[in-house]
Structures are given as C-alpha cells and as structure tokens.
C-alpha cells in the first residue's frame, strides 16, 4: 500500500498499483478476505469497522461487477457508500475531472474508489484530495483489486501459488487486468507466461519495469499442458479500432479457450483452473464449455470480489492515520 502525503498535509494509504503491495501486504489482504468471506454466510452481513466513514465510488467508465462489489463491500463494513457515475454527473456538462473530484472531496469523504478511462487517473486523483484512493481500473494501466481477487480465487482452489504456472492469454495491449495480475502473481511467487498474438503484445512488454521473471509466448497450445491456471482476458472491442486480428474466428482458433484446448488442459492437469475477469465473450475468447466447466472459477471470482474489496477497504481505512 503506498503511503502518500496528500493535499491536506496528512499521509494517506492508497491502493493505486499492484506494485504498491509487497508480499506481506498481499498475504494480509488475502488472509483478511478469507475471514471476510465468512460473513457472506451470516444472517447479519454487517461489521461495524467503517461506521461513520464515507466511501464514494467515482466511476467514469461502465462497470457492473466492480462497482457493485465495492458498494456491497463498503456497506457490509458499515460505511456510507455513494455512487457517482460519469454519465449523469457534471462531467457530462463539461466539468473537468479535477473539479469533479475536488467537489466530491469537499463534501468530506474518507475514500474515493476511482475508475477512469485514462491511465494514471487514480494516481492523479490521489494528488488532489485528502482521502484514501483506490484504483478500480485506470485505462489500460492497472486494476489491482481484480488481481487480488483472482489470486484469492486461485489460492482457494490450488493452495499456495508459489511455483505454480499461470498462463494469461489475450489482449495484453489493452488489458489492465493482465498487468496487475502479472505483478501480484509474481509477488506471490507464481510462474507466469503471457500469451498473445504479436499484434496484441505491447512492444516494450519484456521490460515492464515493475516485474521480472515472466515468459512470453505466441503459442497457446505449447504452454497449456504445463498450466495450473489459465486466465482468459476479454477481447475489448470498445478499446479496439480494428486491425489487431483479421476476424473474430481467427482469434478464437489461435487464442481462444476452445473445447479441444479445454480437453488438452484437463487431460494434462485435471486440477487446473480457468479464470476470466468478466464480462465474457462466449464463443470468442472462451468457449461456453470452458466457461461452465468444473475447472472454471468465474463465479468464485465474483463472490470473492466482495470479500477482497472489504479486505482492501478495511486495510486502507480501519487503522490509525500516521
């Protein structure tokens, strides 16, 4: 967790990048999430830890599961949660991000959960306000809570990720999930291979500064047999202006988790798991059979989302301010 001096002169804990978290901090967040998940089964789904605190979800980009899981997480911790979306707020009337953020912060909020289409937006917001800032996805940069919940879901099924082989497949150029997952998985000691067609693999990827010790491949069939976990990334049509691959069919043949690949994966390692951050394009990057297979963690990932975000809010907000 990065601790940054804010506009108010105080230091605040933020979660802006997966690289902010060392191994002990990731461990603490995942372990706390395990305890938080217990309350999902309870009759009274409420813990008093953030009573009287206000968390604002500031979402300038469409999101269903991230926003609603942050909202539920905040409410179950007894915080007051306010949702502000880009459409319908003053930004659609031409207000700048800075003015919107300062207006919201002036109301006396304790934490801002920020999603924005610009890479670096959450970091920028953390410079402006005297509140805790959580990056809920900034452009094509990072999505640290998604990486935490993916690691949490995988650990639940696989046990420790130390030395385990995780294959991340798909649109690396536009995926904030891939970058955050790579960092968090390396922090936990997993072996990571990134697989993508050459057109969707950023040219400087081998020198991504915050991580090392990962492998690159253009051949999914070659790496699949050694995988303990396969993470299929969404083909993000909204960020693509075409030209990255000839046809959807060709992408599926080369890089989709098709039925034959599912067979190959399960034959090589019956305990392997399949992740997808959602929303899925069934039939494009993942076959329906794979999405619904016993190896699929897709629904586990959603239910883990609330517990992991409760844990993140708890670790950021509950303790004393330095």
């Amino acid at each position: 967790m990065s601790t940054v001096a804010t506009a108010g002169g105080r230091t605040r804990r933020h979660l802006l990048s997966s690289a902010d978290l060392d191994r002990a901090q990731v461990r603490a967040i995942l372990d706390t999430a395990g305890e938080m998940q217990g309350i999902q089964q309870r009759e009274v789904k409420k813990l008093p830890v953030l009573r009287g605190r206000t968390v604002v979800n500031l979402f300038f980009e469409d999101s269903t599961r991230t926003r609603s899981s942050f909202e539920i997480a905040g409410k179950w911790l007894s915080a007051d949660v306010v949702n502000i979306s880009g459409n319908g707020s003053s930004t659609s009337k031409g207000e700048s991000l800075r003015d919107t953020v300062l207006t919201v912060a002036a109301m006396g909020v304790d934490a801002l959960v920020v999603r924005h289409s610009a890479s670096g937006a959450a970091h920028q917001v953390s410079q402006w306000v005297d509140a805790h800032v959580v990056n809920a996805g900034d452009g094509t940069h990072e999505h640290p809570t998604q990486a935490l919940l993916d690691a949490y879901s995988m650990e639940r099924r696989l046990g420790s990720l130390e030395g385990r082989h995780v294959v991340i497949v798909g649109d690396l150029t536009h995926s904030r999930v891939a970058r955050s997952n790579l960092i968090t998985l390396r922090t936990l000691g997993a072996r990571v291979t990134l697989v993508a067609p050459p057109t969707l693999m950023p040219s400087g990827i081998a020198t991504w500064s915050q991580v090392d010790g990962f492998e690159l491949s253009h051949d999914l069939d070659a790496v699949l047999p050694t995988a303990d976990a396969v993470m299929m990334l969404r083909v993000q049509r909204e960020r693509m202006s075409g030209g990255f691959f000839p046809t959807a069919r060709e992408y599926t043949v080369g890089f989709g988790l098709t039925r034959p690949r599912l067979q190959a994966l399960v034959t090589a390692n019956p305990d392997a798991v399949i992740c997808h951050p959602g929303p899925m394009n069934r039939g494009l990057e993942i076959a329906a059979d794979a999405a619904d297979a016993a190896q699929s963690l897709v629904l586990d990932q959603v239910s883990a989302g609330v517990a992991v975000r409760m844990s993140v809010l708890y670790h950021l907000l509950a303790g004393e301010e330095s």
Binding site: T32, E35, R42, E43, V44, L47, V49, E320
Partner: protein, 204 residues
Amino acid sequence: MTRPDSAVPTVPEADVSSDPASGSDTRVVMSSGDISRALRRVAHEVLEHNKGAADLVVLGIPTRGVALARRLAGVMESVEGTAVPVGALDVTMHRDDLRRQPTRSPRHTEIPAVGIDDKVVVLVDDVLYSGRTVRAALDALSDLGRPRAVRLAVLVDRGHRELPIRADHVGKNLPTAGSERVSVRLSEHDGIDDQVTISGGQSR
C-alpha cells in the same frame, strides 16, 4: 497475552517480543500446576452452574483464549463423558480502538456446527482487564446469533475495569497496579511451560 499499561491488549505479534522471565522485576504468580488446577476448577464450576454439559458452547477469544477454551472443553468432556463444542470468536472487527491502532488483521472465527442460538455460550479469555475485549466479543456474538445465556470465564482477573463487566468464573484474582504487565504464557503458543507472570511497576 501481555496486557500493557494502555487499556487495550497488544497486537499478538508484539507480545512475544520480551521474555517475561528475563527481567529482574518479573514474578511468576501462577505456575503450570496452578494454571492446570485453576482450569479444572473453572471447568467444574461451569458444569455445576449449568447442571451438566447440555447446550454448552465454549468460545475462546484469540489468541490464548482459544487454547484455554480447548483445555476447558477437554476437562468438561472427561468429567461429563460427552463432547463439548468448542470454537474461536475473533473480536478485531468490533473493537472500539481500531482507529487508534495500526491496522490489525482479523484472526480466525470458528463457530461450532451446532451454532450459538439458544445455547449457553461460555466466553474464555486469558486476562480480564478493561473489559473492552469482552464488550467487543458480546457485539460479535450478537451478529452471529442469540445465545440463551453468555457466561465469561477468565484465567486471570487483574481488575481496573473500564466498563460494567464482570467474570462469572475466575482462575485467579490478581490485584495489580495499572503500570504492571501481566503475561500469560501457554505451551500451545509460546513453546514454554505454562506460566503467568507479572512485571513492571513499583515493587509492592
């Protein structure tokens, strides 16, 4: 668990940092035998008051309360011949001092399968001091269900209550000064023989 001068228990990681036996002002107030005898008596008291082991659920407050709860349940089982459900109740999320402390990770809560509704819950902790931990435990319990009754058993009652809370069963009443530290060491957690020591403060 070490109870320092402040009104709150220290974080579990911190309380093994000093060896209580090494200081010259450290006195052993309960030996391993004393602790074992006190626990046997407390177990008998609980059973006597409850007229048997029916509906009892023993919940320890982490860290050392859990080990004490297991021992108490073990004694009760050997006396009554029936298993007594035992578990752990973490109170971290219900503390009133969360914002005064560095963030602490919650400990494991484990409620026996029989649940706590309409049961007689016996809360177990090592040292009763300010009463704030017990208050937090009562709040945590009310989120989990509605016991028929809640009773409190502690190994050491050192006084200095800040809330209207008292123990039903006490292993040893230990008059202390606020500046003194009471440390409970249990073989399960500390790898040394059980003992309760008192250190610091003026010699009395």
